[in-house]
């Protein structure tokens, strides 16, 4: 019997959330059982995701685990889901980070843990849903739905400025999404359907492509974030509780980049090619600007937030090189960055929960008191700098290989994160971990087993991605090669005058 695995995967966390909501108990008992239900539910989800990874056939063109059901047939909208090599690993990333985040939140979220777990599980469902969606409307619904648990996580369990941060996060993303909706409607108007595989084969008129592209850039650019649409980011990342920040920066930010690779590039090839230099320019600005601003930060979490922004700039550069190594590098960078940035936010939280202070000048000499923490921290810091042997090096290397095809300066400037990143990360590490032990750091305990259980898997994966990245590239490389080749053909076809200009849908 053929199991609808992807649908099960998508709604299993939501079912868990429902189960938690239905459980009636005293607040304490309810919180405890909510934690266990959430953990088991997310672990089961991870197991299914890993099973799908194992059963995935990398070389096979098109989508796998496809399911389709009519939704609004008159308008060409259907419940259509499926995975290719690109989306599969994002699903795996989401399902992996959620249990990590749940364990990290085990003790740190004391207030209304039950509601927290519901929100996290709902977020997981929406994330899997958006990566698995093969219908633009379905994608849009999931994409918008991430906002609900996302902004609740910031707004309820966040820091002192949580409501402000949450509303800004919501408004920015929501505002951006409206432009996506416009693009969606325009595409639907032309193609008569919102099915993604069909849209990918549809040729839109070059002029229309420009407007649709702009809409998508505004939508996904906010999420990524794209310079200068990033103003919500430092507040949101800094105010959200660390386990939630790990999910926001680790996975949710990737939804923006995923949008580019799923919609903007394959569906609007001419516009993507036309505006690629601008996108790369914005990416480089983000890389350099965020890295410079990060150095001036006084709050550890904000520093890491800017670092995340800087790295997403590199992803943008990689995507819009529009060649195989560049796009491969961007994808790999997204995956490894998801792991590393989550690890960094969680590490910082472990430290600041001990000292009660997030400022960089507030603590020093931690390495002497917390050697295990310092060792793992060093690994994640070095990974964030892109040291060979860690995942982000592979991503940065491939992006640079892609960028050199476009020119010397693109490669040199986008690579400047190598230097600027080292500057702010090492200064942070030097101030906090090194130096003489100050009174505040005097009574620090090293990591608890539970905290080790959070960080060690992340560390292992960071090294795994750096030493044997083929386990991951094998999965998405064929899809990326296909995508890039398809893009090149489409651009070439549009350039030749004989090509049909408006419509060549698969109708």
């Amino acid at each position: 019997m053929h199991l609808p695995l992807l649908t099960i995967l998508t709604f299993l966390p939501a079912a868990g959330a429902l189960l938690i909501a239905l459980t009636r108990a005293t607040p304490e008992a309810g919180d405890r059982s909510a934690r266990w239900i959430a953990l088991w539910c997310s672990v089961a989800t991870l197991a299914i995701a890993l099973l799908m990874w194992a059963r995935f056939v990398p070389g096979q063109p098109g989508f796998q685990f496809e399911e389709r059901a009519d939704w609004v047939p008159g308008f060409g909208i259907s419940y259509h889901v499926g995975l290719d090599g690109i989306s599969l690993l994002f699903v795996v990333l989401s399902t992996f980070l959620v249990p990590v985040s749940i364990v990290a939140a085990w003790n740190s979220i004391e207030n209304r843990a039950r509601d927290y777990m519901i929100a996290v599980l709902l977020l997981e469902s929406t994330l899997i849903g958006l990566f698995g969606a093969l219908d633009f409307v379905l994608f849009y619904v999931f994409y918008e739905a991430t906002l609900i648990p996302g902004s609740l996580l910031i707004g309820i369990w966040g820091g002192p400025k949580r409501v402000y941060a949450s509303i800004r996060f919501f408004l920015f993303t929501f505002g951006g999404s409206l432009f996506m909706l416009l693009s969606l409607l325009a595409m639907w108007h032309t193609a008569g359907t919102t099915d993604i595989p069909v849209l990918m084969r549809t040729h839109f008129a070059p002029a229309a492509q420009g407007w649709m592209f702009l809409g998508l850039v505004l939508a996904f650019g906010v999420k990524l974030p794209l310079f200068p649409l990033h103003t919500w980011l430092p507040d949101a990342y800094a105010e959200a509780p660390a386990p939630a920040t790990a999910l926001l920066s680790g996975v949710l930010a990737k939804a923006g980049a995923y949008g580019f690779i799923r919609f903007a590039i394959p569906m609007l090839p001419d516009a993507a090619a036309r505006y690629a230099p601008w996108m790369i320019g914005l990416g480089i600005v983000a890389v350099i600007y965020a890295a410079i601003v990060a150095l001036a930060q006084t709050d550890m979490k904000r520093l890491i937030a800017y670092s995340s922004f800087s790295h997403m700039g590199l992803v943008l550069v990689g995507l819009f090189t529009l060649n195989a190594p560049g796009v491969d590098g961007a994808l790999f960078q997204m995956l490894s960055h998801g792991i590393i940035i989550a690890a960094l936010f969680l590490s910082i939280a472990m430290l600041s929960s001990r000292t009660g202070d997030r400022s960089i000048s507030g603590v020093s000499g931690v390495a002497a008191r917390m050697p295990a923490f310092a060792t793992l921290g060093m690994l994640f810091f070095m990974a964030n700098i892109g040291l060979p042997g860690t995942g982000s090096f592979v991503g940065e290397l491939l992006v640079m290989i892609g960028a050199i095809h476009l020119g010397f300066w693109v490669a040199l400037l986008s690579g400047s994160a190598m230097i600027l990143g080292a500057a702010y990360m090492l200064v942070l590490y030097g101030r906090v971990m090194f130096g003489s032990v100050r009174s505040l750091a005097g009574g620090l305990r090293d990591l608890s087993p539970q905290e080790m259980a959070v960080l060690v898997p992340l560390a292992v994966i960071t090294l795994w991605m750096g030493i044997y990245p083929s386990s991951f590239t094998r999965v998405f490389d064929p899809a990326v090669t296909g995508l890039v080749a398809g893009h090149r053909q489409a651009v070439a076809a549009a350039a030749s005058p004989a090509a049909p200009t408006v419509l060549e849908a698969a109708r």
Partner: protein, 647 residues
């Protein structure tokens, strides 16, 4: 060949095992076992390296690739984990593992007085060794870059080992970032190489070099030969690692680390990586004459610059550090003239005598309880007889006094520069010869200040004691190398057996005749450097033994020059004004003005316009998660339905 391959793999991976065991389990197994494990594994590594080199030479096989695993494989880009065995890599592996083994052993004694557990130190040392071995055994540029960055990480950790000292942390960060600047160019160079050749593996690159000789690359609106651009970019990478002029500032500061670190980083291994890179890429560099010219100019300038600075430093370790910088300049001069064999020869002899000098300096510092100022030493020869003797041997080798090791290698390089001729040859020969004098002068200045004359600070002198056997044994072994290494190795590295020894692992262009003409250097010209070395010793004797007031007078009468040299030509101050401070100011400016005012201001202004509306929203904030979620869902559904129905 299977034995060679497996011996070679063991030599490379044994230090990794040592690093992992001592680093991760150090606290569990305790310090004594950690020490035994790491030293033991280094002995294994060195033994295997020697055996592999021996068998490899006996079999006289050309390059052997030992595949380990795939690595990066995406989008048409391939790089694998592979160990490459040829004479160039095997000789480096042997040198690195042997010197590193001695330094591990020495560290057991040197770090015995530390209050905190030292397993971390041994883990870093072994990690460093592993990274260096990966660098020299790489079969492609990406794996080389892995080792390249790995030694960078390990040196960062080692320099900052005493992390409660702010100066050590600052020096560690500086070393890493200065190296990273150079590495960016290196990385772009590798990418460019891939663009041109479509591969990063050595064999594939070298095989297709002739096809690409005429290729050009556009930069700054002009067309350059592609090989020149790549050559210059790779050399910038080498400049960073090898602390050549403009990138040298990290090296003296790196003296903040424990002394064995200085020996390991500044003598045998890390700083020579740049020279190794040029030798490794010789099949390509040979076709980039302009880049090679740049190598000569930078090498000779560094050689001279560092020697002048070394002349006036009061700190014993900094003096030797500048001397390292200067000697690396010699190696680059040789490489720039296509005399890679000579560069490798000097690299090897230098590894022995410079490790010896650093470790002896460590023995002195150890004896004087962490005193490093040479002007507070003196007359230690009687207190530290063995250290004094081996340091003399090291200085004789460094000062190129025949028949010690440095004489063989350094004179060959200077002769090579002369025979290369032309303006460049004349420039390099003049500077290198002058530096021969300076080298002897600062070496004997050090010897006389530390070991001879009267003790300047009696209480320090009285408590001084000779180090234990664990420290002295490595010194004696290295002293043997410093004394006889040049004479023993010369026939193989640059003499009659060199072609059979290198066996194709180093490439000389058909029109490159440096090696052949070396023997024809005119007798008097060949003697000049040696005469100047002796003269340097004599001047040092006069200035620091007979008439100690001369240097002080000179310093007074030529105060600006003295300060200029003492402050290392003001490079640090210049960089601070030019880069560090403006960068920090820019960071604050962009944050406060760029991000907080402008980019944040626009949405804030919009928000202010709608503030009336939002105050109403505040009233319906109930705090119930269900109400929020429900409201949003309803909004979503209404929005969607509207768009779908009103088509």
């Amino acid at each position: 060949m299977i034995t060679v391959a497996s011996l070679f793999s063991v030599a490379v991976f044994a230090p990794l095992l040592g690093a992992l065991v001592t680093g991760l389990l150090g606290r569990v197994i305790g310090d004594p076992i950690s020490r035994i494990v790491s030293v033991g594994l280094m002995v294994v590594s060195a033994g295997c390296a020697v055996a592999a080199l021996w068998f490899g030479l006996a079999a006289s096989a050309q390059a052997v690739a030992v595949p380990v695993s795939t690595w990066v494989q995406a989008g048409g880009f391939h790089a694998a984990w592979t160990l490459r065995f040829d004479t160039l890599s095997a000789s480096m592996v042997t040198m690195v593992s042997c010197v590193s083994m001695l330094i591990h052993l020495y560290s057991v004694g040197y770090m015995s007085h530390e209050k905190n557990p030292v397993h971390r130190f041994f883990a870093y040392l072994s990690l460093f060794t592993f990274a260096m071995l990966m660098l020299v055994t790489s079969d492609n540029l990406i794996q080389l870059f892995f080792g390249w960055e790995g030694v960078g990480l390990a040196s960062y950790l080692l320099i900052g080992y005493w992390y409660d000292r702010p100066s050590a942390v600052a020096a560690a960060i500086k070393a890493f970032i200065v190296n990273r600047i150079a590495d960016l160019f290196f990385m772009v160079g590798i990418a460019l190489l891939f663009l041109l050749f479509g591969t990063v593996s050595y064999d594939n690159i070298f095989a297709t070099v002739p096809e690409h000789v005429g290729a050009s690359y556009r930069l700054f609106g002009t067309s350059f030969p592609a090989f020149e651009v790549i050559g210059v970019l790779l050399f910038i990478g080498a400049m960073g690692k090898s602390a050549q002029l403009f990138f040298h500032t990290w090296l003296p500061d790196a003296m903040e680390g424990p002394t064995p670190v200085s020996a390991l980083i500044h003598a045998a291994t890390m700083v020579t990586a740049g020279v190794f890179l040029l030798a490794r890429m010789s099949p390509l560099m040979e076709f980039a004459p302009v880049a090679k010219g740049l190598v000569v100019v930078i090498g000779a300038s560094t050689c001279f610059f560092a020697a002048t600075v070394g002349l006036v430093q009061p700190d014993i370790k900094r003096t030797i550090a500048y001397s390292t910088c200067s000697q690396l300049g010699y190696m680059f001069v040789a490489a720039g003239f296509g005399f890679y064999q000579g560069a490798m020869f000097h690299l090897t002899t230098h590894a022995f005598f410079k490790a010896l000098l650093f470790l002896s300096a460590g023995s002195v510092i150890h004896a004087l309880h962490d005193e490093q100022d040479m002007f507070r030493m003196g007359g230690l020869a009687r207190k530290l007889p063995v250290t004094c003797a081996v340091m003399w041997i090291g200085s004789l080798a460094l000062g190129a006094i025949p028949p010690f090791a440095g004489w063989w290698s350094k004179d060959a390089i200077i002769d090579g520069a002369w025979m290369a001729g032309g303006g460049l040859g004349g420039f390099a020969w003049t500077l290198c010869t002058a530096v021969a004098f300076l080298t002897a002068l600062y070496s004997w200045r050090l010897l006389f200040l530390v070991f001879h004359g009267r003790p300047r600070v009696p209480e320090l002198h009285d408590h001084a004691h000779e180090s234990g056997p664990v420290i002295l044994l490595p010194l004696l072994v290295l002293a043997v190398g410093a004394a006889f290494g040049g004479w023993l190795l010369r026939p193989w590295y640059i003499g009659e057996h060199q072609a059979a020894f290198w066996n194709g692992s180093i490439f000389n262009a058909p029109d490159n005749h440096v090696l052949a003409t070396l023997e024809h250097t005119q007798g008097l010209i060949a003697l000049v450097p040696t005469i100047l070395s002796f003269l340097g010793v004599a001047v040092a004797f006069v200035c620091y033994m007979l008439k100690p007031e001369i240097p002080a007078q000179l310093a007074r009468s030529m105060r600006p020059l003295y300060l200029f040299l003492l402050n290392k030509w003001y490079f640090d101050e210049l960089y601070d004004r030019l880069f560090v401070r403006p960068y920090r100011a820019l960071a604050r400016l962009l944050w406060h003005v760029g991000d907080e005012t402008v980019i944040d201001g626009v949405p804030r202004g919009l928000a202010r316009l709608t503030v009336g509306g939002s105050s109403g929203i505040v009233r319906i904030q109930t705090g119930s998660i269900a109400v929020y979620a429900f409201t949003m869902l309803i909004g979503l559904v209404v929005l969607l339905s509207t768009f779908l129905l009103v088509r």
